[in-house]
């Protein structure tokens, strides 16, 4: 079985600043993979590279065995990869319902259709309603997304990301800024919604990381210094030194 994501020897320079150096990352099908690392390590940049938001200076990225490096974000999305953003990135003036529905439209095959009434597409309506139910925002469906509370916007962000039914889901710090109860709820949500899919998650909260991930990669200064199961990572002296040491104690 081909890997869900394979990153080989990817480099990224902004000007002459080397942000990502010789990045190699393999994520298997159905795996829950956490990427951790200190601030500014290049975690979001890695997400941007894989999702096509920026193109690598050199190197290759494959999704399910198909080359995706160099493709535009929407082409990568259509091949089954969907990502969320660290800073909430929703359609602020549109309602919660419309936000989710837009994220459902391409996947349900309606594309750029201008001959169909969007309100009378049963599968779109049903899927939107299900996702709203999943992210607990049904009671807020007619509120413009920009008026939601912070935690609600984060949940909407997750909802938009999973709505298209992509097989690979990438979440960039989905619980950042949430209270403990909100975090617990969000983690349960993520666990349930990504059942049977591949999940790549960037997370600073170590209890979330070790509770959720099958494998963990540690990124420091644009380079993966360790990759393995939670136990392996916990016991890795390099990781302790570079990262966990400062966070845990």
């Amino acid at each position: 079985m081909t890997n869900a994501i394979e990153v080989r020897a990817v480099e990224k320079k902004f000007g002459n600043v080397h942000i990502i150096r010789d990045l190699n990352l393999t994520i298997g099908q159905g795996e829950r993979h956490a990427i951790i690392g200190p601030n500014g390590a290049g975690k979001s940049t890695t997400f941007n590279l894989i999702s096509g938001h920026i193109t690598p200076t050199s190197g290759e990225i494959d999704l399910n065995g198909q080359r995706i490096s160099g493709l535009r974000p929407f082409e990568i999305n259509r091949r089954g990869l969907s990502r969320s953003f660290q800073v909430t990135n929703v359609f602020a003036k549109m309602t919660v319902w419309e936000n989710i529905r837009c994220a459902v439209l391409w996947a349900t095959g309606h594309r750029y259709a201008f001959w169909k009434n969007v309100d009378s597409l049963p599968e779109v309506r049903q899927r939107t309603a299900e996702i709203l139910e999943d992210i607990h925002l049904t009671h807020r469906r007619d509120v413009p997304a920009g008026l939601l509370t912070y935690a609600e916007q984060r949940e909407l962000e997750i909802g938009i990301t999973i709505a298209g039914g992509a097989s690979v889901i990438m979440l960039d710090e989905p619980t950042a800024g949430m209270s403990n109860t909100e975090t617990d709820r969000a983690v349960a949500l993520i666990r349930r919604l990504t059942e049977g899919r591949t999940l790549v998650i960037v997370e600073h909260d170590m209890s979330v990381v070790f509770g959720l991930a099958d494998r963990i990669s540690v990124l420091v200064y644009g380079n993966i210094i360790a990759s393995g199961t939670p136990e392996e990572i916990r016991g890795n002296p390099k990781v302790k030194e570079a990262y966990l040491g400062e966070e845990d104690h």
Binding site: F74, F91, K93, A113, F114, T161, G164
Partner: protein
């Protein structure tokens, strides 16, 4: 309480509740289009209504770009004008060859002309939104407007190209000579186009236009190419602008360079913005107001464009959502029954505000007469009251009205704000938010 619970949408019923307001708005719109010329029967009002109808289609087409997709164009008249020219050439060809095409089908020629040019020009210009799109639209507008003076055989140079709409085959005994028949032709296309443009907003493409307007970056991560969305939106806008241009050509029986110039592009931007981009009918209201202003103001003052500019700046500064958003602000108050709480404050504020406006108008007219090389003697009439320009008394009145009116008006507007807050608080308590 029962009212509140019945308003709450049930989670499974996802079609937006078509409320009474929705049907009322469309009902009023269609009835107004059909009945108004029967109430106001003079030839002059039929001409006015015809111009309003054309402007309304044009402004609605502009709002596909501005309000729906977030594209600010300075060259939308290109598609209006090319639609007009192609319609004139089409009409002349139909008449010359005796083709069996009656006049009511001619707007389709304009529409397809607008569409074809939008298809050609749009792909490059919609590559980016924002400033880049605005600048490209301006450049293309200039390009087409200047080539209209160079390609004389097609555009007819300064004089333009004329046609005769009555040379086309009659339909049901209508030869479209009388203005009222032309009006109903325009009204027919206005209703059809408005329904089509509204329907467009309710399609997957229409919804994605809004998404691209709000956040083009995120659109890419849910499978859509924002460029394609903008391009398709642009093509539809071009099509309906072409219909409007063809109707103008039918109405005036001429197409000339002014049709595709920067002024025409500016007027449609004004109309759409003044009416309001946030509501579907906003541009229609804007078209009514701007057309009336153009016709009426130019009769009573030589500096009517100045007033036009002042009104536009006023709207941009104080009501950026346009006139419709000002009106729609009152909807929760109306529903909650608290509108009477603000009306007295409005009436109190109205008096000094009008006096202030009169002062400004008087001052502008005095300055206009002097700056246009007037001798400084003579009289001007403001609301039929004669003012002697040479008299210091007139100047004093203008100054007192402007300055005094401003101060008093400002005080009374505070009263309006307070009354508004009280009314809104009560409305919120009764469960009406927006």
């Amino acid at each position: 309480m029962t009212d509140l619970t019945s308003r709450a949408p049930s989670p499974t019923d996802s079609a937006p509740a078509r409320n009474v307001g929705f049907y009322a708005a469309w009902g009023i719109f269609i009835v107004a289009v059909l009945v108004l010329p029967l109430i106001f029967r003079s030839g002059g009002s039929h001409t006015t209504f015809s111009l309003i109808g054309i402007a309304a289609i044009f402004a609605l087409s502009y709002n596909i770009l501005l309000g729906q997709t977030g594209l600010l164009s300075f060259g939308h008249a290109v598609y209006y004008g090319l639609g007009g020219f192609l319609a004139v050439h089409g009409m002349n060809a139909i008449a010359a060859h005796g083709l069996p095409v009656p006049l009511p089908f001619v707007p389709l020629i304009g529409g397809f002309a607008g569409l074809v040019f939008a298809i050609i020009i749009g792909w490059v210009s919609t590559q980016r939104a924002g400033t880049v799109f605005a600048m490209i639209s301006l450049g293309i507008g200039e390009l087409v407007a200047s080539s209209s003076l160079i390609l004389r055989s097609f555009f007819g140079g300064e004089a333009g190209i004329t046609t005769n709409r009555t040379d086309l085959p009659a339909l049901f005994g209508w030869n479209f000579g009388p203005q009222i028949q032309v009006y109903y032709l325009i009204g027919f296309w206005l209703i059809i186009s408005a329904i089509a443009m509204y329907a467009l907003t309710r399609t997957p493409l229409g919804r994605m236009c809004n998404a691209v307007r709000d956040n083009p970056e995120r659109v890419q991560f849910i499978g859509y190419d924002p460029h394609v969305v903008r391009y398709l939106s642009f093509c539809f806008a071009g099509f309906f602008a072409g219909i409007a241009g063809a109707l103008a050509a039918i109405n005036f029986e001429i197409a000339n360079a002014a049709y595709l110039g920067a002024v025409q592009s500016g007027v449609v931007l004004f109309a759409t913005f003044i009416g309001g981009v946030g509501y579907f009918f906003g541009p229609v209201l804007g078209a009514v107001v701007v057309t009336m202003l153009q016709l009426e103001l130019s009769d009573v003052t030589s500096v009517w464009q100045l007033y036009f500019g002042i009104i536009f700046i006023g709207i941009v500064m104080f009501a950026p959502g346009g006139l419709t958003s000002l009106l729609m602000m009152h909807r929760p108050l109306l529903r909650a029954g608290t509108l009477p709480m603000v009306l007295p404050a409005y009436l109190i504020a109205l008096v000094p505000t009008l006096l202030f406006a009169c002062g400004v108008i008087l001052a502008i007219e005095i300055l206009a007469v002097y700056s246009q090389g007037g001798s400084g003697s003579g009289t001007i009439h403001l609301f039929r009251i004669p003012f002697d320009l040479a008299s210091p008394m007139t100047w004093l009145i203008a100054a007192v009205l402007t300055i005094g009116g401003f101060y008093v008006a400002r005080m009374t507007w505070r009263g309006v704000t307070d009354a508004w807050d009280r009314a809104m608080t009560v409305a919120r308590e009764r469960g009406y938010h927006a």
